[in-house]
């Protein structure tokens, strides 16, 4: 026997954690809305039944307004979905029941998973778990996704209820007496006033008369009355019915109030810690200062702890280099193969791997910020600034995620309702400095700026942020069809980050980084090595290699921005495949075996100084690397999200022009004043 269960709930209700619990998947979860933007599937076998589990995007309702809601609604309405598990954050029961009532109207078997009961208890609230199922007519199972409690009984209930299309026994005690011809209180949890019920009956009759094979008639009738565009397009004869959205929504919430009054005790109790923390963290003046300090702390930890662990990676890389060199000598391996492995692959990929500790610390810090609930507050803190740029504070979340990796940041822009905002965010998010670029800053700032390395690297993040803000502002000024932005974002309670959730997040990113080192960077390194060692004169003459000849021809274009060195031009072109490749290419280009170690850096510095590459050139390289064409993975994501090749190419060109202009300004100002 097979069964398909859809997990649906409000954003941030613990759906994905529950899905991970069952399937053993390691999907990313975060303490802010909009993390699951596509449906994700997994399978398990339980009680002799093969169960397909589908994690659906978080939704507050089942209208057809947002992409997440459309994905969720169409899946539940399809024949594919047998049972719906409605995951509810018990601490926000009142708001969550609105979606529950809409799900009940779809006519599919629904089981409620009442998650986060521990928070309810901690706050001092109480939920009557006997009365709630009586009023909704469906099973309500308390679970704790984080503690993996109640999981078996929840699936058992879902399997048991799979064929139940009518509610369990409903017990309501209403004050008013209905004069409606049907006694709907035995059939539906949500019964409207006679006026609306009469209209529903009329529409159902109309549907039966004019359309064949219609199912979910009551749901369709309600959607017609709600003026749902998608449904009205399909059943255009029903457009004549006057919309009653306000009445429907008000009556739903009136019923929810009735339920809450009966099942929820001490509902006014809220989390005192969150309120106290918010007074400080979202203060109108200090909120922004604290945000900057928090981000500075993130990078301080990335450098200090990251560098300490990095030294052990460098040691290991040295041992590997020496071991391979001795082995190749012992085996009499040709110098070309030895050079390819040691100067190419090990130097290139190895130097990228040595930055793994820094990257891990950066993601660990970002994961703590996300899971603690602070990320949503950043939308509030930044709303003032962002609204002046024609964006909502919510748009800052994808931009902030760009500090980690641009690819998920671009995808997170889907949560923005306005298409124009999404394009704008896609345009400026790549300016936010991602982890790949961190490798460039660490290497070059530590080589050229010694004790000021951390400040220089941090300034790259600030420059990226300022350029993104400035670019948004200019676009806003040029935009003739300005549209208003409406910030509405839920603020979850602060909580101690869950180690499992943080672990999944960090592991996911570290895995990506290592895979990238073993694939994109590995291939790019070999290509760079080949282009640097092969030329018209054959093998081994790097000065006359194909890469050198091509780069020397175009290096003059980079001279006004302080980067007119053919080796740097090669590294920058190669860096479009992945930004870490700038570092790995430099290691190959200058033949530095362990570029991030102290000895390696000294050799590297001497080699760079020998070609006239000084501190100002290093600064220009960092700024240009920060701002120029995004990596291939980012461009592919932009193309997928914007569905426009023109926009993707325009974005690449825009970034190249901005990078050139900003670096030109810095270098020319230096030449003018120093």
């Amino acid at each position: 026997m097979e069964l398909t269960i859809g997990f649906i709930g409000n954003p941030n209700c613990g759906k994905t954690t529950l899905f991970n619990d069952y399937t053993g998947a390691n999907l990313k979860v975060a303490n802010y809305p909009g993390v699951t933007v596509e449906k994700v599937e997994g399978s398990i076998i339980k009680e002799g039944t093969k169960i397909h589990l589908v994690d659906l995007p978080g939704a507050y309702s089942l209208t057809s307004y947002t992409l997440e809601e459309r994905v969720t609604r169409s899946f539940i309405l399809s024949d594919e979905c047998d049972v719906v598990i409605n995951v509810i954050d018990a601490s926000t029961l009142e708001r969550s029941l609105y979606l529950t009532l809409q799900l009940l109207e779809l006519g599919k078997p629904v089981v409620v998973a009442l998650n986060m009961m521990d928070i309810v208890k901690k706050r001092g609230m109480e939920i009557d778990l006997h009365r709630l199922p009586e009023m909704l007519g469906i099973p309500v199972i308390p679970v704790s996704a984080r503690k993996r409690e109640g999981l078996d009984i929840l699936l058992h209930a879902a399997i048991h209820h799979k064929d139940q299309n009518r509610p369990d026994r409903l017990i309501h005690e209403h004050d008013y007496v209905s004069k409606h011809r049907h006694h709907h209180h035995e059939e539906y949890a949500m019964v409207y006033s006679d006026k609306i019920e009469d209209k529903i009956d009329d529409i159902i009759a109309d549907l039966k008369d004019n359309y064949q094979g219609v199912v979910n008639e009551r749901f369709l009738a309600l959607k017609v009355l709600e003026g749902d565009e998608e449904i009205l397009k399909k059943f255009d004869r029903l457009k004549e019915y006057a919309p009653m959205q306000d009445e429907i929504i008000n009556e739903k919430y009136a019923f929810i109030e009735e339920v809450i009054k009966e099942v929820l005790l001490y509902k006014e109790k809220s989390d005192a810690l969150t309120q106290k923390a918010d007074r400080i963290l979202t203060h109108k003046v200090w909120g922004f200062v604290i945000f900057l300090v928090v981000m500075a702390l993130v990078f301080f930890l990335t450098f200090t702890i990251g560098d300490y662990i990095k030294s052990y990676f460098e040691l290991a890389l040295n041992v590997l280099n020496e071991g391979l060199s001795n082995l190749f000598d012992y085996l009499n391996v040709s110098s070309a193969i030895k050079s390819l492995v040691i100067d190419g692959i090990v130097s290139g990929v190895g130097v990228v791997i040595t930055f793994l500790p820094n990257i891990t610390i950066l993601f660990l810090a970002l994961a703590f910020l996300e899971d603690s609930g602070y990320m949503s507050r950043v939308a509030y803190i930044m709303e003032g600034i962002m609204s002046k740029l024609g964006l909502s504070g919510r748009a800052f979340i994808p931009m902030l995620l760009g500090f980690g990796c641009t690819v998920p940041a671009i995808m997170a822009s889907r949560t923005l309702e306005n298409h124009k905002d999404r394009l704008k965010v896609m345009l400026v998010t790549p300016f936010m400095s991602c982890n790949a670029r961190l490798t460039i800053y660490i290497l070059f700032s530590e080589m050229f700026f010694k004790s000021y390395a951390m400040i220089v690297a941090y300034s790259m993040y600030v420059i990226g942020l300022l350029v993104a803000i400035l670019a948004s502002w200019i676009i806003h000024l040029l935009d003739r069809k300005k549209s208003a932005n409406y910030l509405i974002i839920e603020l979850p309670e602060y909580k101690m980050p869950d180690l499992h959730t943080v672990g999944i997040y960090v592991w996911d990113k570290v895995k990506d980084y290592v895979i990238k080192a073993g694939t994109t960077i590995f291939v790019a390194t070999i290509i760079i090595w080949l282009l640097l060692n092969l030329g018209p004169n054959g093998f081994g003459d790097m000065q006359n290699s194909f890469a050198a000849l091509l780069s020397k021809k175009i290096a003059f274009l980079f001279a006004p921005i302080g980067l007119g060195f053919w080796q740097i031009v090669v590294a920058l072109i190669a860096g479009i495949s992945a930004k870490e490749v700038v570092v790995s290419s430099c290691a190959v280009l200058f033949g530095i075996a362990n570029a991030s170690s102290i000895d390696g850096m000294n050799s590297f510095l001497s080699a760079l100084n020998a070609i006239g590459f000084e501190s100002i050139n290093a600064l220009c390289l960092m700024v240009f690397s920060l701002l120029y064409i995004p990596c291939v993975a980012t461009l592919a994501t932009i193309y997928r999200e914007s569905k426009s090749l023109k926009w993707t190419l325009l974005e690449g060109l825009f970034q190249l022009v901005v990078a050139y202009l900003v670096t030109l300004l810095i270098y020319q100002a230096y030449l003018l004043f120093v």
């Binding site: 969150t274 504070g393 309702e417 509405i488």
Partner: protein, 77 residues
């Protein structure tokens, strides 16, 4: 009065939401319906606010708060 004029720690009752239908529906789905009570938790600028209604907290931009008509709910003394 409109919500953007609200004072921290005071409660207000929603009278009318004068926003584009998409935004209005979104707010209503979150529970901000007619006569619903809203508590102002924090505010800054002209009227960027942190509010609480139906047991959940939200951040609302000035473009939202200035379009929501409210009346103050007098506390019982």
């Amino acid at each position: 009065m409109t919500l953007d004029q609200g004072v921290i720690n005071k409660k207000y009752q929603i009278q009318k939401i004068d926003l584009p239908s998409f935004t209005k529906r979104h707010l209503e789905a979150l529970g901000m319906t007619n006569k619903c009570e809203v508590e102002v938790l924090n505010r800054k600028g002209k009227g960027i606010m942190m509010v609480r209604f139906r047991g959940s907290s939200f951040a609302l931009g000035y473009n939202v708060t200035r379009k929501i008509e409210v009346k103050e709910v007098k506390a019982w003394n």
